[in-house]
């Protein structure tokens, strides 16, 4: 907590049920951390399903993983890590009151997130074209394993849910840009930027686990 100054006036962003900006900021930040915990448990279920089926069909995972394009997965990893950097820079800009920098960094982050989704789109399209569809619609016969569809069910569930999180992140950051342009944020109030940044880092970290678990095992 920074030292509350005696000259602090009742600020526009400060909700009436909080005592000061610090309390409000800390509460929001903690709320986001708690939310991230729930996200980890949410994905945790899928990681557990991944582990169980990998223990059962180890050879299937190795075979099926070859269908995934390690190169594009790696590119996406770099893209997301880069976007994590730019979102951190956006927070830094807000802290330094550089609203222009904040907006630019948010746009770069949004751009990188879109690049990620476009690459993901081409990956999905290529697989759908081959007949690698989720679950019961699976028709591909290039993998000699009876349960090949299960690997791809897990693949689509994990990357699909992650993709939805990326889309939510893009939406949040567009909203931040809108707010920043309306001069809502300044060095004394940038809570939404900070907590969106936290969320975005989680999206990034989940991908960092997904990439080796799905792409790099072959």
């Amino acid at each position: 907590m920074s030292q509350p100054s005696a000259t602090e006036e009742r600020l526009e962003h400060l909700k009436h049920y909080f005592i000061d900006s610090d309390q409000q900021f800390e509460a929001s930040k903690m709320g986001m951390w708690v939310f991230l915990v729930t996200e980890i448990l949410f994905f945790g279920g899928l990681f557990l399903a991944y582990i169980v089926y990998r223990a059962w069909y180890p050879e299937l995972y190795l075979l099926a993983s070859e269908e995934l394009h390690t190169f594009w997965g790696a590119v996406n990893t770099v893209v997301l890590i880069g976007s994590s950097l730019t979102v951190a820079m956006a927070i830094r800009s807000a802290q330094l009151n550089q609203i222009k920098g904040l907006i630019i960094n948010l746009w770069i982050t949004i751009g990188l997130a879109c690049v990620f989704m476009v690459i993901k789109y081409f990956e999905y399209a290529e697989k759908f074209g081959k007949g690698i569809l989720p679950g019961g619609y699976y028709t591909y016969d290039g993998i000699e394993h009876e349960q090949a569809n299960i690997f791809f069910s897990i693949y689509y569930m994990m990357t699909g849910l992650h993709g939805i999180h990326v889309l939510v992140g893009i939406g949040l950051m567009l909203w931040l840009v809108y707010k920043a342009k309306k001069k809502v944020f300044h060095s004394g109030y940038y809570t939404p930027v900070e907590i969106t940044g936290l969320y975005w880092h989680l999206v990034d970290i989940i991908w960092i686990f997904l990439f080796p678990l799905l792409y790099l095992i072959d």
Binding site: E9, R10, Y17, I19, A27, G44, V52, G136, Y137, I150
Partner: protein, 579 residues
Amino acid sequence: MATNEENSNTKKLQVRRFKPEENPEKHYLNEEKGIWAWMTTVDHKKIGLLYLGSITFFFFVGGVLALLLRTELLTPAQSFIDADTYNQVFTLHGAIMIFFFLIPSVPAVLGNFVLPLQLGAKDVAFPRLNLASYYIYVIGALFTLFAIFTGGVDTGWTFYTPYSATTGGNVMAMTFGVFILGFSSILTGLNFIVTIHKMRAPGITWNKLPLNLWGLYATSLIQILATPVLAITLLLLTMERLLQIGIFDPALGGDPVLYQHFFWFYSHPAVYIMIVPGFGIISEVISTFSRKVIFGYWAIALSSLAIAFIGFLVWGHHMFTAGQSSLANMVFSFLTFLVGIPTGIKIFNWLATMYRGSIDMKTPMLYAQVFLFLFTIGGFTGIMLGALSVDIHLHDTYYVVAHFHYVMMGGMVMAFLAGLHYWWPKMFGKMYSEFWAKISCAILFVGFNMTFLPQFVMGAQGMPRRYFNYIDQFQSFHQFSTIGAYVMGVAFVIMAIYLVHSLLKGKRASSNPWGSRALEWQISSPPSLHNFHHVPVIVNGPYDYHKPMSEFQLGIAASHNGHHAEEAVNVSQSEKEQA
């Protein structure tokens, strides 16, 4: 010690006594009028009442369904509904009572209402999120109603695969409804955790936190840790039906036992989501009506957390007969016994609190006694079910049904009713008829035992749960049980009548009708829209009945509900010094 700190600050903070205003002209119920103001309110008290209305509706629906089941079971063969309808009715009874009544009951209704008041806060940390969680609940409920009217669900409330992945009816809408509902529960838990951490009034340290809040805190931890797992489970189940992804369905290479692991990893902790906040209420009620400091404050507080923790390690005891390895069975059986320890600690501390207290057997206290009696039976039979060899015999019999109803209805619902009667004067500023409340409590107690005691016996004799027909030897038990269910129905009708009467024509309640020392009773009944016109300052523990009431009504003057900068700064400093 805290008093000394207070003294060193008094010059600056100007702590003084704030006597609660009696019979306030303006309060949270009449300050904003109209349906729209209610539907869009971010006030935690009103959101609590919105939840109260909703869960009352669902309790009524679930109760009527239970009476239908019991009526059908009067005769061994078909009485008046066919077997398929019977399956749908017991599924709905379970799903509605658990997901739409029990889980939101204490946290979302009483927790929402009381938590900020007990913290001396003006609201929860995220009031809009709080309102959102209510609407998420409503949307989840609409999905469930949609499922009922588009084919129904006959899987049982557990939605076990592979049956749930292949049966007819609208399982998808139902599971999606529960999936959505889960987010409501998560958001409530998140809100409570942050509020308890960040919004305590000056002087409320962790060892002065009312035990009700310790209970809600432990509950919230379970909610945020367990519910996401249910969410992903139900999402996978939905995908199983939609896309045949083959995770849970053995016909597609999946594993139905994995579903059970996932499901119970949530649903076992979920029974603690239901019961732990009840423990919090019982602590408040027993201390208040014994006029005595609670015995073993830390033991009760930490045992809530211990139950929350151990609750995550026992899910396998639902699967003793599902093909789990025998080693896992033994480990889960042993861990299940451990839950008895913190629960026993609580029971003994409550008894010790009552010992030599000046007990006032008002309605909430009566419910607390009913709770102690019924919950202890429920708890012990739970230990018996946790024992491996016994469970093989009792698994999927009426014994399990009776055990579950003893802990959930005998424990949780009684605790909820204790809390409802305890905080009713604070919620509405009206008293209810003490006489009729006690009569109704007594009838409920008799009816409850009539309904569920015979089920222990027939379960032990081999009557399987969820069966539509039964052999003749069980008929007398079933009939006794059905009569008991109607007796309970009568008790609830009486309760509805005197509570409605209290709302319309009840005597006005004073600000503190029970003489409690807790913070929520130190403001007017009903509270004003922003709860406190001052910043409350706490110097004593919440159960220090040996200290005068005046010491519990201290506060710092704050004009404009604390909007003023000068006081705000001082308060945050004093907070830091006392933390």
